[in-house]
Symmetry: C2
Subunit: 369 residues, 2 copies
Amino acid sequence: MQQTRLDTDRIRAARRVIDPVFLGTPLYRCEALEPGLGCAVSIKLETANPVRSFKGRGTEVVASLLAERGPRAVVCASAGNLGQALAWSGRGRGLDVTVVASRFATAAKLDRIRALGAGLELVDGDHELARERAAEIARYDGIRLVEDSLDIETCEGAATIGLELVEALERAKPAEQARPGEQAKQAALAELAELAQTAEQAEMAELADPAPPFDAVLIALGGGAMATGVGHVLKALAPGVEVICVQPLGAPAMTRSWHERRVVTTDSTDTIADGVAGRRPIPAVLDDLLLVADDAVLVQEASIIAGMRMLLDHAGLVVEPSAALGIAAILEDRDRFAGRHVVTIVCGGNVDGDAYRRWVGAAPVPHKA
Amino acid sequence: MQQTRLDTDRIRAARRVIDPVFLGTPLYRCEALEPGLGCAVSIKLETANPVRSFKGRGTEVVASLLAERGPRAVVCASAGNLGQALAWSGRGRGLDVTVVASRFATAAKLDRIRALGAGLELVDGDHELARERAAEIARYDGIRLVEDSLDIETCEGAATIGLELVEALERAKPAEQARPGEQAKQAALAELAELAQTAEQAEMAELADPAPPFDAVLIALGGGAMATGVGHVLKALAPGVEVICVQPLGAPAMTRSWHERRVVTTDSTDTIADGVAGRRPIPAVLDDLLLVADDAVLVQEASIIAGMRMLLDHAGLVVEPSAALGIAAILEDRDRFAGRHVVTIVCGGNVDGDAYRRWVGAAPVPHKA
């Protein structure tokens, strides 16, 4: 069977060099979301970290390798999240970071890049122009170009999300299949009871999980680092889990490519989901996506906004549009997910306040029972 | 030296019976908060879990013990967060849970309790009346009464937050004092380099942390379970960290008690911070608080609201008022914290949407550079 560019051993090794602040992120059922969606939903939260997106995982791997073997100067093109993450990872290791971004990029993201001490160059065009300029800088200045999703380390970092999802499935297994962790739990319970000097011997209730373990993961699809990384790990270690990628209708290039099994580009993008607004898929990434994704769907802007509003109202989270793509997919196809348990990766929370207010409206709406 | 009611061995044992969804919660610097506060701030996030507060830690301990040795019916008085957490922990173990609350309690909290299948009884009075009614139910029906902060398990559960803070301090130690984790990290880096078949031998850059480790923890003070639990662990394992409790001016009983070293009650409370609006401190809890807290301060409602707004704007988090007490304390005493690195425990996110909008106003304000 054909292999992806990824390797699960390398992904495990990569995890060990990533700052723990990006690892072991929350994975929890948000039952308040469920009446509105018709299925059980677990949030994998990638915003509670210093750069408010999952991209720190990948940049930690990149920066660790660069710090060890150089060069110490690096440039990337970014809609903002990769740049902020690379700036953070570089700062901690004394690397010289330059970020090239479109001047139309989210101001909140650009400010964080400057605040973290990285050089910031703006181009008068879109993300694809930024990619060209970053490549140019790397060529002329001889510094390392970091390319989101093409560079395997960016995929390996994101893939560690997949390891954590697999480990959660392991923990959810019934007691008779329980790993040493479960036995340790029972031992600890016994110890607590002893410490409490109780002589009672009562049966310990079976831990009942009211929802089955998740069987699908909804992944925002931009360059493809997260989709291929997480997809690779799930297909390798939990192949029963459906891997569903989600993109905006306004930035559909990779999704069309996946369906047509060949690189399809678009001339422009039109979406508020700036984090996934690519238009020129990378062939090597598409090859991997074809191996690990079970589906790729497109959603409307209105659904993305509705998803953002639901996450604000029912999970108390301000998220950027890309992070609401999973919820949007459920909203647009309730029948598909009805009665199931899905994970949605809330991948970023960097958004301009005034844009957010324009899209989502006022703070949490009046409480509904 | 006088001892608290707590025991660090029991707290470690308690951790092993708590559902992992409540453990290992994010602890991360939120640099976007810092210009407005004048100090480095790390958020310890206790809202990214199925009950959106830290109280699941304690109820998991309680419910585990009850499931093992009974009784299987339990009642508690709650402003909402304890009740929701106990309902969740009980549901997973087949316990029969009744929550008694004031009919003025936060509607969002009450709805979650019902949704989790617990019985809910409302009293026509405040939280103290709910405590009396819960005790009455327990007496007449012979079911177990769970009392926040009095029951040692509620403190032990909260104390596991302290274990995680201590472990973070351990990880932050310089390389020469590094624990096996750091050595494993360097070994992993070498492994990655080998897997990449690189022959270069470059020095690995020292991991530079631009802020010193934290030296103070700001803890919302209600019944005292979290303050005494976290305080006990810090005093035992990281005594250099200052433990500062924060209460609203409108619910100052425990703070006054701490300063006067005797139980001081109030006739009423007047604060939006419903989660900490107690007025009759428990003597045993005060005794422990006197041993482990370095200070207890009171803050204005306006500061709490300002803190909530800052967490929304700069951390993308909708929090309940109690969770903003730490930020409020910094706002009211910048000089005290200037240049330091403090942790604030964001302890809960259960809040009514319309009340939140009234207090905080619209969604994130226009972005400021």
